[in-house]
């Protein structure tokens, strides 16, 4: 019995010994050097070891059969090798290659992997310290490459595209009216406080399939999370006052901002304001509630409202009078994010509206639009080298178009007008998917497809692709190509329907982008060069009278250069230089009395050269000084070469020359600013700031003023001459 037991134990013992395999080997980098302190494991078990100081390892395992041995080392790609474990000793030589994640932050996420002027590094502090931007996010973005100095307003004219071709999103919800003080010269300021956004992402082209209904650019903002401490701010300046309250509430928190703009004091100090019958006034505010819903989830509810009005004295050859504008816009959204089963989920429901009432001579426009939308996205990593992103967009829009529009752009009160009262409804559904893969060590490719269907204007399927090749740790080559579609505004559709109820209607507008660039990101230095070519087709044009059509075409090509050193929050000296070259053509309307025809010409926003130099310095920790110099080629303008006397009144209809065939004089402007921070005890600070715009008092041309019969003309200059602005911000933090 004892012998039997002994035999059994010995057999069991030998079986146990034979089930052990000793795994030994080395871990090396791709240069052949052995790597000390790498981790080696049998995948799916806890059997493993670290390499020693010479890069060698050894351990025993009871795992048997075909197994994977994996080695890991920080900053290198893991390596796996299949081995057969059957006792005895197995030797494995593992080689780890350089990780693509070490080649630059732009590779890490698909979001950052967009061609174009990626200004995600534009912090709120950057915005408020950029001179000439008047603490406006849009004005600050205009100092980056790819944006043209097409006007002195806030409009984002991107690479030969019209301002309407850039979508502005907050937490994924489109903002219908991102600008204040809309006039014939465009909006003067943005409606979004730079402090409301924790992240700003702007792309001037080649952007991801996740963004639809935009031909040229995307400005995507992510709202702040809940405040971590109570804080109150009060800002009073020459042009307005604002109050902000941050209040932690339980696990979440509330951020409230109210702003009242009144420009009379600013104009009085600067001896200006004659051009206004009523100085611009605005009332706007935001309320943001945010709270974590789990360790990975968050819910946000945001409301934005803006109301503004002004009366601007304008002189038109047929009429001199006051352009009056009242506008109201609002946005409400709820955004939810979380991680479920490895998927990053993001969903936003929103409702936005905009109402405008504009009057000038015989012109009266009362357009209104509202939009309810749902946007949902999901993304997941399928392996170390494969990511998938997908999402849907659904929305319902309603646009009303009411008012009187004169023929031939002549606003004389006696001119013939057409009365409109039209409402159009439309729905839109979009879906997209994108795959990001790393087929080789230094290569990342993104391929995406987007489909959109608009009930009023048609459907489109848009493929997009990007390719990145990392030359070394700091330098990347980028290529991007894609097709982009955008529906004409529902207001234009409404106007077209009103004019021609049985007409062909309007289709989708399309653009293609081809972009090649190089990016270098070294210590405290960013250099970027990008060349691009865009073509447009089916652009909306006013084909005759007040009839519209999507028969316009166009193209744009150019080169953007950008250099940035330092950062405002960390370096005593920082700044950037951007230069953009642009050559663009578009189908334009060429007036010939009451008639008109379509002709190709340079668009009014097709400024050939734009240079921005922004410098910031902090001579002491409390004092910040900054300067911005802008020089740009003059805007293209269409000369009026003759006129026809109107039979119905004492005014003339103009006859245009070749569209965009003349160029205004060069635009130059120097702005400076400074701010000084004064601590107030333990819980507050006072920031005093001042700015001087157009310090050289340059009379920049913005167009031509023609005589009533169009026989003589003189340069019309910008009202933005030398001006000063001062203010103070009080910040109180509660404990």
């Amino acid at each position: 019995m004892t012998r039997l037991l002994l035999l059994a134990l010995l057999l069991a013992s030998s079986l146990a010994v034979s089930a052990q395999t000793v795994v030994t080997g080395t871990v090396a980098g791709d240069d052949g050097a052995l790597l000390p302190y790498a981790t080696v494991l049998i995948v799916g078990t806890t059997d493993g070891a670290a390499t020693d100081s010479e890069g060698r390892f050894g351990f025993t395992t009871t795992a048997t059969g075909r197994q994977l041995v994996e080695a890991r080392f920080l900053g290198l790609e893991p390596d796996r090798q299949r081995v057969e474990l059957a006792g005895d000793t197995v030797r494995v030589e593992l080689v780890l290659r350089e990780s693509i994640q070490d080649l630059g932050s732009a590779v890490v996420s698909a979001d950052a992997f967009v061609s174009g002027a990626d200004v995600k590094g534009l912090s709120p502090l950057d915005v408020v310290t950029t001179p000439g931007a008047a603490a406006d996010l849009f004005q600050a973005i205009r100092s980056f490459p790819g944006l043209t100095e097409a006007s002195e307003g806030a409009g984002l004219f991107v690479r030969g595209g019209d301002v309407s071709e850039t979508a502005v999103l907050m937490d994924g919800a489109q903002i219908l009216q991102p600008y204040q003080y809309e006039s014939p010269q465009g909006g003067a300021r943005g409606t979004i406080s730079p402090w409301l956004a924790k992240g700003t992402r702007f792309s001037s082209g080649g952007f991801s399939a996740r963004y639809g209904d935009a031909l040229s650019g995307v400005l995507a903002l992510d709202s702040q999370d809940e405040p971590t401490r109570a804080q109150q701010t009060l800002d009073v300046g020459l042009a307005g006052a604002s109050v902000g309250v941050d209040a932690p509430l339980g696990r979440g928190g509330l951020r409230l901002v109210g702003n009242r703009s009144f420009t009379e004091a600013l104009f009085w100090v600067n001896g200006r304001g004659d051009e206004f019958e009523q100085a611009p006034e605005a009332l706007n505010g935001s309320a943001l509630f945010s709270m974590p819903t789990s360790s990975t989830g968050r819910l946000k509810v945001l409301g934005l409202v803006n109301a503004d009005q002004f009366g601007l004295r304008l002189s038109d050859p047929s009429f001199s009078g006051v352009f009056e504008s009242d506008a109201y816009s609002g946005l409400g959204l709820a955004n939810w994010t979380d991680v479920r089963s490895g998927w990053n989920l993001n969903a936003t429901v929103s409702h936005s509206l905009r109402q405008t009432d504009q009057r000038f001579g015989s012109l009266r426009l009362r357009p209104g639009v509202d939009r309810s939308a749902l946007r949902a996205t999901a993304e997941r990593s399928l392996s170390d080298r494969l990511l998938i992103h997908t999402g849907v967009d659904l929305d319902r829009r309603r646009a009303s178009y009411r008012g009187e529009v004169p023929g031939g752009d002549v606003v004389d009160p006696d001119a013939t007008t057409t009365v409109f009262d039209q409402t159009t409804r439309g729905t839109h559904a979009g879906a997209w998917a994108e795959i990001e893969t790393q087929p080789a060590r230094r290569v990342v490719a993104i391929v995406g497809l987007r489909g959109d269907a608009h009930s009023a204007t048609g459907a489109a399927l848009d493929p997009r692709a990007s390719l990145l090749y990392a030359l070394n740790d700091a330098t990347q080559l980028r290529l991007a190509a894609g097709r982009y579609s955008q529906s004409p505004s529902l207001g234009t559709v409404a106007l077209d329907d009103a004019q021609a109820p049985d007409g062909p209607g309007l289709g989708l507008q399309h653009a293609t982008h081809l972009i090649a660039g190089v990016l270098h990101q070294g210590q405290g230095l960013t250099l970027r060069a990008e060349a691009y070519a865009k073509t447009y087709r089916q652009l909306v044009v006013q084909r005759s009278g007040d009839l519209f059509g999507t028969t316009g075409t166009g193209w744009a090509r150019g080169l953007d250069l950008f250099a940035r050193v330092g950062a405002i929050d960390t370096d005593r000296v920082s700044g950037w230089v951007s230069y953009s070259f642009l050559d663009a053509r578009r189908t334009r309307v060429q007036r010939n009395g009451l008639a008109s025809r379509l002709a190709e010409g340079r668009p009014s926003f097709g400024v050939a050269h734009s240079l921005n130099v922004v410098g910031k310095a902090r001579p002491t920790p409390r004092l910040t000084t900054s300067a911005r110099f802008r020089v740009a080629a003059g805007r293209p303008v269409t000369p009026v070469v003759g006129a026809i006397a109107a039979p119905e009144g004492d005014f003339f209809y103009p006859i245009d020359g070749v569209p965009g065939s003349e160029t205004l004089p060069t635009y130059t402007r120097l702005d400076i600013g400074l701010s000084y921070s004064v601590p107030l005890g333990r819980t507050g600070s006072l920031v005093l700031y001042g700015a001087a715009d157009n310090v050289l008092n340059r009379a920049n041309a913005i167009g031509y003023d023609y005589s009533a019969d169009y026989t003589t003309r003189q340069l019309e200059v910008s009202p933005f001459r030398r001006s000063v602005y001062v203010g103070a911000t009080l910040l109180l933090v509660s404990r």
Partner: protein
Amino acid sequence: MRFLLLVLALGLAVPAQAQSTPPQPAALASARHMLDAGVATNNPDSLLAARAQLAVLANADDASGHWATYYAALADYRLAYLFWSRDADRAGQHAASGASALEALRQEGSLPDPLPEESAALLSALYSTQMGLDASLGMTLGQKASMVTREASRLAPANPRVQYVQAMSLASTPAEWGGDPEQALELFRSSVEAFEAETPSGMAPRWGEDEAYAWLGMTLLQRGELAEAREAIEASEAINPTSEFVQYKLKPWLASVEADAQ
């Protein structure tokens, strides 16, 4: 005969136990010892070796695996500081790796006590390290750091490391962004008292006391309270005589200020 049976049975049982059960706390203790030795000697090799050992142990699907993940992240935190002035890119990699490992750990849910608050405090310190190395990360990590610090404070307001991390944040943030040197000083003081009263056991961490004293000393030095500053700096040195921060920054600074004062 019985002796032979016993030897055989043990010979059978020991290898089977060593291979089939998760890594034992002894292995974790050994890796932690290596980590402490690396900190005490400012030896990157020792820290890297500890980190690699802990990364192996972190694969265990139990409390010891969770703690190994925490200590591997602590090794990353130590390595980030060691490489800070020598190789900023490498320092950033370690800080990001540690933060990423703790973020993943904290998503697992049921963590053994006191890992929830300890991991929150260490994660906050790792975020701050990343922002210190690259200020442009402030936009994305600043809020995360605040939230995780607040969570740590809510879970364990008296924890010395939680108070220390909170105080560091208040001391290094400008007043207009919520920094408060006065409250930081109070928390540093409270933190060193809590460290002295702490009696860690088992797998619970016990790092940070010398650093809290060093920060307390630096804060007092900035305020010109020299006697108390000297006391705090000496207390830090007594716990960790090899700290480069104390030896090469704080002590020369103290000496210079004291010389000026005389």
